[in-house]
């Protein structure tokens, strides 16, 4: 049984039945799932949730699916790590990494949103699922579709990392590469969804898909001991996850799982694709699209669908945001890997680099708690850092060659290890 009531336009409030619809017919505003929060409040508690399996469906009352969840039984409930070494480096005592680099099965936060979207696609009776993607979403849709026994067609812009193309095709998905950037792909897919009636997880199933992103915030609050952090820094591309993390924190309070829901949410964008940060810094609501140019391909979206709601969530919370250049992104990826043993994709490097700036700007203070949202895995994007790291030393399998290398690198065990 579900606690969902309807779809409702976020702009004009018009209501629609639960169906594969995503745009309000009156004002073109986005549709959002409505819930009966009073009923949910009576039905769940911290104890009930804590007894459930460690996956995103432990919050099922606040997700828009009917019946027993079938998709993504191991998705979500990723680690929230206390980052002691990185925290010491940055002068922050309570620094946490929410680590979706190990989300099951495709190593990014997209396994959350896709679990919900594919559940819904099945409920609606679709046999083909599809998406417009810069890569992470593609791999998640392809993998979850395979396990659900659905056909899958993926649309990507040219130039996406090999790991993400192979990582989609391997599951039996058909991949179509579009000559253009993500925004071109997205526009084409909007027209295809309209004409062919396929289930595009991030277009006509978008109201359900985006709800899955709340679980990132739900988990952070539960894992912190049922409280919100003082600060959470979230990357922004299309603008799905940031407003939904904020919504997740608010819903937890609404249904009685949190006593307080005080937090500042901050937005991180790559300098080469930062339309939301431009608007934030200019103090306007109007987001002017850009042509993206950054190594952070997973967040290279110049025309963010939900950018307006990112601005709203950031401003309402008293948060802020900034950009990271490509070199700053690479440095942050290396820092996170070297201090915490987590290999993030460039979106994660962007988020950490921006966190460092917010600390330098004193918007985040040393005694406050901070969560850095790492939403994707660096093993899928090795191209981004391959040229920026030390290359291996090559020697013959002879002890005297190693002796020589040892001397060359400083002649002490410590000097040799320091190369890392």
């Amino acid at each position: 049984m579900s606690y969902v009531t309807n779809l409702k336009c976020r702009e004009c409030g018009q209501e629609y039945p639960i169906s594969p619809l995503h745009v309000c017919e009156t004002c073109f505003g986005p549709l959002e799932v409505g819930y009966d929060y009073a009923k949910i409040r009576a039905a769940i508690s911290r104890a009930i949730i804590e007894r459930r399996p460690h996956n995103l469906w432990r919050y099922r009352e606040l997700l828009p699916v009917e019946g027993e969840p079938q998709i993504g039984p191991y998705s979500g409930f990723t680690p929230l790590l206390k980052a002691e070494r990185l925290g010491a480096e940055l002068g922050i005592k309570k620094l946490y990494i929410k680590d979706d680099t190990v989300n099951h099965p495709t190593l990014s936060y997209k396994d959350r949103v896709v679990s919900v979207a594919i559940s819904k696609a099945r409920e609606f009776g679709f046999t083909t699922v599809s998406c417009a993607s810069t890569g992470n979403l593609a791999t998640a849709v392809a993998a979850h579709a395979a396990r659900a026994g659905l056909n899958c067609v993926i649309f990507m812009p040219e130039g996406v990392e090999t790991g993400k193309v192979v990582g989609s095709t391997i599951y039996g998905a058909r991949v179509i590469t579009i000559r253009g950037n993500y925004d071109d792909v997205n526009r084409l897919c909007s027209e295809i969804a309209d004409k062919y009636g396929w289930a595009f997880v991030n277009i006509n199933l978008r109201p359900y898909y985006t709800e899955g992103a709340k679980t990132f915030g739900f988990e952070v609050a539960e894992q912190l001991g049922w409280r919100t952090p003082d600060h959470i820094v979230v990357p922004t591309a299309g603008g799905t996850i940031l407003p939904k993390v904020a919504k997740g924190f608010k819903e937890f309070k609404e249904v009685g799982l949190l006593r307080e829901s005080e937090f500042k949410i901050h937005c991180a964008q790559a300098a080469g694709s930062a339309p939301v940060i431009h608007a934030l810094h200019k103090g306007t609501d109007l987001i002017t699209p850009v042509k993206p140019d950054t190594i952070a391909k997973s967040i290279a979206i110049g025309n963010p669908a939900d950018g307006y709601y990112v601005l709203k969530a950031v401003r309402e919370s008293g948060g802020w945001g900034d950009v990271a250049t490509d070199p700053e992104i690479i440095d942050a990826i290396k820092l996170l890997a070297a201090t915490e043993g987590i290999f993030a994709e460039p979106a994660g490097g962007t988020t950490l680099a921006v966190t460092i700036k917010l600390i330098a700007q004193k918007r985040i203070k040393p005694d406050e708690s901070v969560v850095v949202s790492i939403t994707g895995n660096g093993y899928k994007t090795v191209e981004a850092v391959a040229q920026s790291i030390e290359q291996p030393f090559i020697i013959e399998a002879r002890l005297r060659e190693f002796d020589a290398l040892y001397e060359r690198l400083g002649g002490t065990r410590r000097a040799l290890a320091g190369a890392a």
């Binding site: 526009r187 978008r206 898909y209």
Partner: protein
């Protein structure tokens, strides 16, 4: 200047369900005005009270977002393709 305009689902109630219509005009603004003459009610869906494009509407001229061109004043030639696409879509 006759141009082709692709109409998204939410607007097809104004075009009797047709997904592509023709319209005349030498700029995007003129084309939208003409669309409203042929299919009354459309303009109100696309433009706000100040005559600006609504926040969640994207218009493309031959595949280019008109915000990268000259907005509503972008010039239109005979045979051009215009697409009206809801902005709400996507997410990596």
């Amino acid at each position: 200047m006759a141009v082709k305009v692709r109409v998204p689902t939410p607007l097809r109630r104004f075009t009797a369900g047709v997904d592509e219509v023709t319209a005349d005009g030498d700029s995007i603004k003129a084309v939208l005005d003409d669309l409203d003459r042929r299919h009354p009610g459309m303009r109100e869906r696309l433009l706000d009270d100040n005559g600006e494009l609504r926040r969640f509407v994207n218009v493309y001229l031959n595949g280019d977002d008109i915000r990268f061109l000259n907005q509503l004043s972008s010039k239109v030639k005979d045979g051009d393709d215009i697409s009206i696409v809801p902005a709400i879509a996507g997410g990596r």
